[in-house]
């Protein structure tokens, strides 16, 4: 237990401030709210595809009403386009305000607003929603004073706990992503990178021509897999930590170009900054 407590609450003096994570997550939350501006009335409006009536019928038929009841959101109370858009505007304002001024009075409502929107889009939410909500929750734990652009010599234990939450979450996510990759033969035969790029109808960029050669997509697939497997270990070894952070960021950018999952991978790239260390002076 003492080891766990030391791990969770005792700061490594070389740990960098959570400033980059605060700015990054707030901007990504802003993007998340903006992205719902056009389509939220079409999904959540009175005759929307995921309207309350449709979801109610769906969950009752699927016998999932009990489980679905826990996806709490104030947006279930309304079908008005004006109210939904007012919610989005409030979310955007909170995101900008939390980026400009660190305060729990802003970061906690921002987290709850994101959770509310993600829970309302139960049928259409993706992996990015869950990671963004987790990241904002961890950010809300940190003491606001420690999330500024300056060196903090005496961080509050809440900030240390927040950083550890980010670090463990990223590690767990990378480990399970690696396991999951290994269960698919395309990560072994080298075709995974072109398989990711192949459904061009749902990709922002058609990069299939870039990776069509086996000399490109096979080494790329192996590099992506090796990074996924090695990064969780290398991130925790002080000597390789900085290299691993850079490798994970490059991994995120590469996969984002291939898969168009920019929000998910940008969020992961921001969260992995919790491992970033300051440069010691001699």
């Amino acid at each position: 237990m003492s080891t766990l407590i030391r791990f969770l609450f005792h700061r490594d003096p070389l740990d960098a401030s959570l400033f980059i994570i605060r700015i990054g997550l707030c901007l990504l939350a802003f993007w998340f709210f903006v992205s719902h501006w056009n389509d939220s009335p079409i999904w959540f409006g009175e005759n929307g595809i995921a309207s309350q009536q449709t979801l109610s019928n769906f969950f009752d038929t699927a016998d999932m009403a009990g489980e679905a009841a826990w996806y709490l959101s104030p947006l279930y109370w309304t079908t008005s386009t004006t109210v939904i858009r007012a919610y989005l505007i409030a979310g955007m304002a909170l995101a900008i305000a939390a980026a400009l001024y660190p305060s729990r009075l802003l970061s906690v409502p921002l987290w709850l607003a994101c959770v509310g929107l993600a829970n309302r889009g139960f049928l259409i939410a993706g992996t990015e929603d869950a990671l963004l909500c987790s990241g904002l929750a961890y950010l809300a734990i940190a003491r606001p004073l420690d999330c500024q652009f300056r060196t903090v010599t005496q961080e509050h234990w809440c900030t240390v706990l927040s950083r550890r939450m980010f670090q463990v979450h990223v590690t767990v996510l990378l480990i399970i992503t690696g396991w999951s990759m290994l269960s698919s033969p395309i990560w072994w035969d080298g075709t995974a990178s072109i398989s990711i790029a192949a459904p061009t109808g749902r990709r922002l960029l058609d990069v299939t021509s870039w990776v069509s050669s086996p000399w490109i997509h096979e080494p790329l697939t192996h590099a992506i897999l090796l990074t996924t497997l090695a990064a969780p270990l290398m991130l925790w070894v002080p000597k390789t930590r900085s290299f691993a952070v850079i490798a994970v960021v490059i991994w995120c950018v590469t996969l984002a170009i291939l898969s168009s999952q920019w929000l998910y991978l940008s969020t992961l790239a921001v969260c992995v900054q919790s491992f970033w260390r300051q440069t010691p002076t001699q």
């Binding site: 969770l8 929307g48 489980e67 994101c114 259409i124 869950a130 459904p199 109808g201 996969l255 898969s259």
Partner: protein
């Protein structure tokens, strides 16, 4: 880049903070953090495969995971084995009276685009609206493939109501670089008929797939081609 600081030895690293929480609070938080990450890890690992014990734990933890949106039950982990089989789906409609008539040809089907994936909005939102539409279609197609026509009908009903002239809806899979000829020629994951009553009630019914059978189809086993009202 934040300003550099002086190196600190190992003793200082492990030295308790002045404002560390009381031991009992630290222990409680420690246990809570372990439980949190155990649940998150089990939920994420469910993308690879789910044991019955895992299902029980997840069912127990569902209120926590759902209320805080720590895991989305409806989606697979990015780049997992399931996610790698993702395809592009299109929703199409037609207004022909019968799909079995010789008039029902490919050209009769027109694509229903999500009204938000075209034009400048796609560039502004980084394709997120398009991704949501594709997730919805993937989910409906997956339900249709798993014989849950009763569920797909509820999800397609609002779209059927909005398409006033449509008589049938279907979801087709776009061929891509990694699909083969057999996959490209396979039946659409979902074909559904739209039934409109005079009172304005709209119902969507998934049509059963045509299947090969080892049993010889006798005339008496064939489905009636006329509705009961038309039968003399």
């Amino acid at each position: 880049m934040p300003p550099a600081i002086s190196p600190v030895d190992h003793e200082a690293v492990t030295k308790p903070l002045n404002d560390a929480p009381p031991v009992w609070i630290a222990r409680t938080i420690g246990i809570a953090v372990c439980a949190h990450f155990a649940i998150v890890a089990i939920a994420l690992a469910g993308n690879v495969g789910v044991s019955s014990m895992q299902s029980s734990v997840l069912a127990l933890a569902r209120p926590y995971l759902a209320a805080l949106h720590l895991d989305n039950d409806s989606q697979t982990l990015a780049f997992s084995a399931d996610a790698m089989t993702e395809k592009t789906y299109f929703l199409q409609k037609t207004n022909v009276a019968s799909l079995h008539s010789s008039d029902a040809v490919y050209d009769d089907w027109t694509r229903i685009d999500s009204p938000l994936v075209v034009g400048s909005s796609r560039r502004i939102v980084g394709g997120l609206a398009d991704q949501r539409w594709q997730r919805f279609l993937s989910r409906v197609a997956a339900l249709a493939k798993s014989e849950r026509g009763d569920l797909t009908c509820w999800l397609l009903e609002p779209i059927a109501k909005a398409q006033s002239n449509a008589t049938f809806l279907r979801i087709i899979q776009e061929p891509d670089l990694m699909t083969n000829v057999v996959q490209d020629a396979s039946e659409p994951p979902l074909t559904a008929s739209i039934i409109r009553s005079q009172e304005g009630i709209v119902q969507v019914t998934q049509l059963a797939d045509r299947r090969l059978s080892s049993v010889r189809r006798l005339p008496s086993m064939q489905a009636p081609t006329q509705t009961p009202a038309e039968t003399p």
